[in-house]
Symmetry: C2
Subunit: 156 residues, 2 copies
């Protein structure tokens, strides 16, 4: 994976859209002193380069009834089972994030559940039943203090 070459205007575009994906391009354009169409073309270029992966509306899980967030460490018996395990986890909509990590556990998941019963069901019926899953540890996220994206200003 090669590092992309990004100039000051690209950074300004990313910096704004990372905070607000629906920010008007014309507003960014006025700040940069170029036309809205130019911003549009740069965003398209950053998208084609793979720098931009997409955009997302951020919703409050609690407002939608998802009262439980948990991080789950998983120990898988052997590397040959990793791919199958990821594919199975991807089919579980409650699992929103999945990392391969170093340490006692091979994988770390982030899951959102409606309540503790729902979490228990996901853990016992969906995760512990996957072939090769030896052991799990559940860390309940009591509060998510903050969540944001990397700071593009860094790259200046």
């Amino acid at each position: 994976m090669s590092k992309a070459s990004i100039d000051a205007i690209d950074r300004k575009i990313l910096q704004h859209l990372i905070r607000n994906a629906r920010m008007p391009f014309l507003e960014i354009a006025r700040e940069c002193g170029i036309s809205g169409a130019a911003i549009h073309q740069r965003v398209k270029k950053l998208d084609e380069m793979g720098v931009i992966l997409g955009s997302r509306l951020e919703v409050d899980p609690k407002k939608l009834g998802f009262d439980v967030c948990a991080l789950i460490g998983i120990r898988v018996s052997d590397p040959s089972r990793y791919e199958n395990t990821v594919e199975t986890l991807k089919q579980i909509p409650e699992v929103v994030e999945c990392h391969f990590i170093t340490g006692e556990y091979n994988m770390m998941l982030k899951v959102y559940c409606l309540n503790n019963e729902h979490l228990m069901q996901i853990l016992f019926e969906k995760i512990l039943t996957i072939d090769g899953v030896l052991k799990t540890e559940t860390f309940i996220s009591l509060v998510q203090s903050f969540s944001r994206q990397i700071d593009v200003k860094y790259l200046e």
Copy 2:
């Protein structure tokens, strides 16, 4: 935190915008059989209700040169230090996520660094120097297999 009352059209709006925050409202409108203005009004209402927290452009950290992602567990000496610890962590731009969790560690962070040296610097100079931080454990994220939002279809 009360669960918001969301109807089928609201769910359809969220379902689309969660995947693509810049999806044209008119496209959603045609699918729902109402006007673009009505979609706009519903999005505004969901925003005011706190269901929508914002929107974000999703970028590829690797393309921007951030080659190392790690999850860091932190043990803090006593609860009176929690607030100060969060505030200090918020000042570190490399820390993109912060949870209070159950288990051996009180907090779990997600950090993005340019390389291992950078991670070491953040860990030793920025995190271990915070008052009350007793112990940390770093889980390097070798691969982030997937990352997405909760599935609104659930709420049907």
